[in-house]
């Protein structure tokens, strides 16, 4: 494996991403909305709405509070119900939503890199180089996974600052991130980035345009939606142990997807579909 070639492919793909506004604009916008706009709304809006108009189901708070780890429960318990809901949302229920960032970014860059290269008719020249199939695949995967994970971690840091700042009037100290967020960011985030990308590679081998590949691979966000719904409904509560387990399961799924992707990604199959 020639790492110089792999880095060259990754660097070239990243340069192309930043040269194409339709790719980099969503890469920047999505994290900004998720880590700044939404938490500020969640923390500030309840303070502007009268408590008697909040319509919070009677059993919701006791059920959610009962599942919280002790440290977090101590922070939230003394607050009025509306603020309790706000802090629960930003600290716990909202957590899986941030997984949309690595999935979406990896899928977007992956679709631009694999299907987009076919669409722009630049793939053929690349296939005539001495770079091996593996080097081409790993270079392109690196170009998608590295920014997806890096931007997710930057977003997470920004989210922590925003949450602490916006909740300062209520809590009066730095209380976020909670324990669950660390495995979520360090263990699950890279796993979902690889999953989003792996699915994009598989889809890109069947379609010929960036838009098709991006739209289809965007379906992997269903996982995030399912996790958010499970959390809110109380069916699943992501503590540290469950988050570690979730990450392990996703890594196993990744191994299967990437193995299939490696088998799918060959010069001869790519060139005959052009």
């Amino acid at each position: 494996m020639n790492w110089r070639s792999i880095w060259a492919i990754a660097r070239k793909d990243l340069k192309e991403v930043f040269a194409n506004r339709s790719v980099w604009a969503p890469v920047i916008l999505l994290p900004l909305i998720l880590v700044i706009v939404l938490p500020v709304l969640l923390l500030v809006l309840p303070t502007r709405v009268p408590q008697n108009r909040m319509n919070i189901p009677d059993d919701l708070l006791p059920r959610l509070m009962g599942q919280l780890p002790v440290g977090l429960a101590d922070v939230i318990a003394p607050l009025p119900p509306a603020q309790q809901i706000s802090l629960l949302m930003v600290s716990t229920l909202f957590a899986p939503m941030l997984l949309a960032i690595p999935i979406m970014i990896a899928s977007l860059i992956g679709a631009n890199s694999f299907a987009g290269e076919k669409e722009r008719k630049t793939l053929e020249a690349l296939l005539y180089t001495p770079a091996s199939d593996g080097e081409l695949l790993y270079g392109k995967m690196l170009a998608a996974v590295l920014p997806a994970v890096a931007l997710s971690w930057i977003s997470f840091a920004l989210y922590a600052v925003v949450v602490n700042a916006a909740s300062w009037p209520l809590v009066g100290r730095v209380w976020f991130p909670t324990a669950t967020w660390w495995p979520l960011m360090l263990w699950v985030t890279p796993a979902v980035a690889v999953m989003g990308l792996g699915l994009t590679v598989l889809i890109s081998s069947k379609v010929n345009t960036f838009m098709e590949a991006n739209q289809l691979s965007g379906l992997s966000v269903i996982l995030v939606v399912a996790l958010v719904i499970s959390q809110i409904s109380g069916a699943l509560f992501l503590g540290v142990g469950l988050t570690m387990l979730l990450g392990a399961v996703i890594w196993i799924v990744d191994a299967v997807i990437v193995t299939v992707a490696i088998k799918t990604f060959s010069r001869s199959s790519l060139i005959t579909r052009m």
Partner: protein, 312 residues
């Protein structure tokens, strides 16, 4: 300067190459030898198997049957080594248009294994040669069509490969840009590159190629030098006779003032025909066998291939 092979060793050989896609034969038993240092023209219409042959010879796809060697290497098992020694101009320039001219070449130079310290100098030299050095920092997408083609050729020769595959290098270019590309091909030949030139522009091919192979429906209709190919269509020769005075009415052929053009079935018939004209009272001042153009030869052979009984 590309490393050269001994003159006796062909740069490219193929024997009985066959490849089909979804049951349709794209290449049907092709055999050819390309000598080191020559410009070999693969001539034929779109869909005749030219591009598939280039892909096979570079190890991008594997043949269903047949054998091939490029610089003595087997593209099926040594594809990466073959591609390290070949440069390919694809039918569309295949440039990364969002990147600068320099970045395009730097990327491909790295993939072709050119050392980092050597790369800037190589890029500068190749861009000067292509007349693109003043556009080095411009986006490739902003270049004219002819410039894009020259940049794509720069990419193909950056690693100084001994064998070049050029797939329709003048397609879609204006006459001036096409002329520049043809001059470049001759220049590459002078430098010792072996050039495998796929084109459907027969007039241009006639000027730059040493030998030719006519492709049609995945098969080779005929191959050789222009003289070899002319002999294949001897029976389609035409002779031009210029008379001093009237052309005898008994003579057949196409008349144009004092000039008569007659079709003959073989060169040996020319003398008989002149004798007949003189006996008919004609005063001949010039006899010129008309050499058929490559285009005329191609269409004659193509026509015969569509009528199998004529090939026998």
């Amino acid at each position: 300067m590309p490393p050269s092979l001994p003159l006796t060793e062909p740069a490219i050989t193929a024997k009985g190459l066959r490849r089909s896609f979804d049951g349709r034969l794209a290449v049907d038993g092709i055999s050819l030898d390309v000598k080191a240092g020559e410009v070999f023209g693969i001539l034929g219409p779109n869909g005749s198997g030219k591009t598939t042959t280039v892909r096979l010879l570079n190890g991008l796809i594997t043949p269903d049957a047949g054998e091939m060697r490029v610089l003595g290497l087997d593209p099926v098992t040594q594809g990466d080594q073959v591609r390290r020694r070949t440069g390919v101009l694809t039918e569309s320039p295949s440039l990364n248009e969002g990147l600068s001219v320099y970045d395009n070449l730097e990327f491909y130079g790295t993939l072709y294994g050119i050392a980092s310290h050597d790369l800037p100098g190589r890029i500068k030299r190749v861009l000067e040669r292509m007349g693109l050095d003043s556009r080095m920092r411009d986006k490739a997408g902003g270049l004219s069509k002819g410039m894009k083609q020259r940049l794509a050729i720069a990419r193909a020769i950056l690693h100084e490969p001994p064998v070049l595959f050029l797939d329709e290098p003048t397609s879609g270019l204006d006459p001036e840009a096409a002329e520049q590309i043809n001059a470049l091909i001759l220049d590459l030949k002078r430098q010792g590159h072996t050039v495998f030139l796929c084109t459907h522009r027969l007039t241009e091919a006639e000027r730059v190629c040493d030998r030719f192979a006519f492709f049609s429906q995945g098969r080779i209709l005929a191959a050789g030098t222009k003289a070899d190919l002319e002999r294949r269509v001897d029976d389609a020769l035409r002779v031009e006779l210029e008379f001093d005075g009237a052309i005898p009415s008994a003579l057949p052929g196409e008349r144009d003032g004092q000039i008569l053009r007659i079709a003959v079935r073989a060169r040996a018939e020319i003398a008989d025909m002149v004798e007949a004209a003189v006996q008919s009272g004609g005063r001949i001042v010039r006899v010129s066998p008309l050499t058929p153009s490559l285009e005329a030869i191609y269409f004659t052979l193509q026509h015969r291939s569509e009528a199998p009984h004529e090939l026998a």
